[in-house]
């Protein structure tokens, strides 16, 4: 009896087993990683492409169609990559705001008393979610935006002109005078012009992410007990008032964590800009790779940038999450 207690075979001993399993897994992983990295270093050395960042200072010698940071072809690669990053951030930021507005509206519409509006909101989500984003982006760019009329035939609303050469918006120009778009020699001019590529990317990203945000918002509103609606209504509040001051504040607790992952996927999806010719970080990186052959460095830069963007979004959303939590007294 005591013999069998003392002598547990090592392959059933709970003190030994974990170490053996971890040892085997760790050794295998180590071997695979060593093999991959060893080959990488050997092959890159042979190709003369071993990790180095000196090429970042060489002139890029390619032009970028639109940029918020001053840039021309004689500037170094790091500057070109910075232009790409700024362009990416611009698309992500505007996309986030747009998708949130559209998604919230659609999510709320799926609780409307109007049956048609409700079904339309559901239909929007079902259509958008089952079609690849890349296909939608190409559709917006080639079928919608590039088919727009130009010159006097362009779509005109007060302060907004939509034409084949871009989206023109009224904005403050020199000093503080509000200035709208105007036609000068058959060409539209305005203080604020968004290129067709940027507009197509934004439209695609916003309508696509908006459908996912709508689902998150719908789930959040559905999580609020029905009694809250009834209580608000019996207090005499309108549909919009009860939504705004009773239901939404409670739904936000559920909505905000869900939004976080949708925002991150919007940030990652913005890299599809390359398909519609908008010069974002990925697009600049691809050009840089083609010119320098520096695959590893470019990949590391891409990976790092998107990782930082993801972390930033998560950090901000965690802060927002703290704000919307219900504070117990």
């Amino acid at each position: 009896m005591s013999r069998s207690l003392e002598r547990i075979p090592w392959w059933r001993d709970r003190r030994v087993l974990p170490w053996i399993v971890q040892g085997v897994v760790g050794l295998t992983l180590l071997l695979v990683i060593a093999l991959l990295l060893g080959n990488l270093v050997r092959n890159l050395t042979a190709a003369g492409l071993l990790l180095s960042w000196r090429w970042l200072g060489q002139p890029a010698s390619f032009d970028v169609a639109e940029s918020l940071v001053p840039f021309d072809a004689s500037m170094p690669y790091w500057r070109a990559l910075l232009v790409g990053l700024v362009n990416s951030l611009r698309a992500i930021l505007v996309g986030l705001v747009g998708a949130t507005l559209l998604g919230t509206a659609m999510g709320m519409a799926s609780f409307s008393g109007n049956g048609l509006l409700r079904r339309l909101a559901r239909g929007y989500v079902e259509v958008i979610r089952n079609i690849p984003l890349l296909l939608q982006l190409l559709f917006w760019y080639f079928v919608v935006f590039l088919a727009l009329p130009n010159g006097t035939a362009a779509f005109q609303l007060p302060g907004i002109v939509l034409s084949k050469s871009g989206l023109y918006l009224a904005w403050f120009s020199q000093g503080f005078s509000w200035q709208g778009p105007e036609l000068v020699n058959e060409v539209w001019r305005a203080p604020l012009r968004l290129s067709v590529e940027f507009s197509a990317l934004l439209t695609g990203l916003i309508t696509y992410t908006g459908a996912f945000v709508a689902e998150v918002v719908r789930g959040g509103i559905a999580s609020v007990p029905k009694g809250q609606w009834e209580a608000a209504t019996s207090l005499g509040l309108h549909w919009s008032a009860s939504m705004r001051s009773v239901v939404l504040p409670q739904a936000l607790r559920v909505i905000v964590p869900g939004l976080n992952s949708q925002y991150i996927s919007l940030a990652k999806n913005s890299s599809l800009a390359v398909a519609v010719g908008y010069v974002d970080l990925y697009s600049v990186s691809e050009t840089t790779l083609n010119q320098t052959g520096r695959a590893l460095e470019v990949f590391l830069l891409l990976l790092g940038s998107y990782l930082i963007i993801d972390l930033l979004i998560s950090a901000v959303m965690n802060g927002v999450n703290q704000l919307v939590q219900i504070r117990e007294r």
């Binding site: 974990p18 399993v21 971890q22 897994v25 760790g26 992983l29 093999l35 991959l36 990295l37 080959n39 990488l40 092959n43 890159l44 190709a47 008393g113 109007n114 049956g115 048609l116 509006l117 339309l120 079902e126 259509v127 979610r129 089952n130 079609i131 690849p132 984003l133 890349l134 296909l135 939608q136 190409l138 559709f139 080639f142 079928v143 990652k268 999806n269 890299s271 599809l272 390359v274 398909a275 990925y282 990186s285 691809e286 790779l289 695959a295 590893l296 990949f299 891409l302 990976l303 998107y306 990782l307 993801d310």
Partner: protein
């Protein structure tokens, strides 16, 4: 105003009443409804006018083979037809057997309404689609024949499946993977068939192949990594976390970039697969990480008492996981996993960005052809409808499977 009013139970009246209540309940609602109805009618009208009048569908009709299989050699295309026949026969067989052995979700009807609807839809598609695509008569008959085979197998297995030896029925889940492997051989060559290199695969064939390959292989990866992430052993946990976060932190296109431009440097000379397979492996590991998160959610929804009970009954850890924990966890993870598969099917379109000729890549080469320049709307719309149908069908199938696996659903 009409005598019908006197009959309060009349369906027609209550239906119209509900409609009026929903659409014109208040002045604001009425305004919204009128605006929406007029917008929808105007949009539908102009879409129909465009589709029937202005659109030139010749770009689709002239390139059906290209869209379907890309540049697959013409002399070898009989292999794909054979595969299609086998898949249709086996689908019909499985479908019929599912109905012959009713489970929780069915009342035991041999021909439930949904099935009759599906057969009707299939018949309509087989008759209408080849004609609409202006395929030649031999091809039209081939499609009709394949559909007829599917329905016939469904009918045979449905009516006589119960009297077949049970061994045969149990074989079905084994035949599917075998058919997949055999299909790979048919497509790629081998076993005496001439080789068709992956660079010649294209169109819908490549899209479906990539998606199915990634879905099948990512499943074991996802389960193993999810178990690793919940493991007590720090090394397993941390390596799983690292893998999941690395994949989920990067956009898919940068990972495809890694596969195309860096993987070649990392493998010993001659080991690196060609571009198509490299992309397939990237898709697989990509999907595996997301699937791991879905499975992890399923695992954490299983009460810890289940594992403890299984262990105290004397099951070993692998036995307890395989027989007690995983069946419950995977059932819970099913909706999220299918959602992931749907988005993987959509993500295959990114292959066109790295120069592969998947469905979208093929479409873009077709539109670059001067003969079909500017036919973007027709091509993109067709692709959108195709993807929408595939993804919606996957979603429907997932919901049906969920009902079937639901243990709380009492068998009728």
């Amino acid at each position: 105003m009409r005598p019908a009013r006197a009959a309060p139970g009349s369906i027609q009246r209550s239906w119209a009443h509900a409609l009026r209540q929903e659409l014109f309940g208040s002045p604001a609602d009425s305004l919204i409804s009128v605006l929406l109805i007029s917008t929808i009618i105007a949009a539908a009208f102009s879409l129909v006018r465009w589709a029937l009048g202005q659109a030139q569908w010749a770009v689709i009709q002239a390139n059906t083979t290209l869209f379907a299989v890309g540049r697959y050699p013409v002399q070898q295309q009989w292999r794909l037809w054979l595969l299609l026949v086998l898949v249709a026969a086996l689908s019909g067989l499985s479908w019929g057997l599912l109905r012959a052995y009713p489970r929780a979700d069915r009342s035991g009807q041999l021909w439930p309404f949904n099935d009759r609807l599906a057969v009707g839809l299939l018949g309509f598609l087989a008759a209408w689609l080849p004609a609409a695509l202006a395929l030649g008569f031999p091809l039209q008959w081939r499609w009709c024949g394949i559909t007829a085979l599917l329905v016939a197998m469904r009918w045979l297995a449905g009516h006589w499946g119960r009297s077949w030896p049970p061994g045969l029925v149990k074989l079905i889940p084994v035949i599917w993977p075998l058919l997949y492997l055999f299909g790979m051989v048919l497509i790629a060559g081998g076993l005496g068939l001439p080789r068709v290199s992956p660079s010649e695969w294209g169109g819908l064939l490549l899209t479906l192949l990539m998606a199915s390959f990634a879905i099948l292989l990512s499943f074991p990866i996802g389960v193993v990594v999810a178990l690793g992430r919940r493991s007590q052993l720090p090394l397993l946990r941390w390596s799983s976390v690292l893998y999941i976060e690395f994949i989920r932190g990067a956009p898919l296109i940068t990972l495809l970039f890694l596969g195309q431009n860096i993987l070649g440097y990392m493998l010993p000379g001659g080991w690196a697969p060609d571009r198509v397979w490299r992309a397939a492996w990237v898709l697989t590991f990509f999907c595996g990480a997301y699937l791991a998160e879905a499975v992890r959610a399923g695992l954490s929804a299983v009460p810890p008492g289940q594992l403890e009970a299984a262990r105290s009954l004397g099951l070993t850890m692998p036995q307890a996981l395989q027989r007690v924990v995983l069946p419950q966890a995977l059932r819970i993870a099913l909706p999220a996993a299918v959602g992931q598969f749907i988005s993987l099917l959509q993500d295959t379109t990114l292959l066109s960005l790295i120069g592969l000729l998947d469905l979208l890549g093929t479409a873009r080469t077709v539109m670059a052809n001067p003969e079909f320049l500017g036919k973007n709307a027709e091509v993109y719309l067709t692709l959108a409808v195709l993807f929408w149908c595939c993804c919606a069908a996957l979603g429907l199938g997932s919901r049906a499977l969920e009902r079937r696996l639901d243990p709380t659903h009492s068998p009728a």
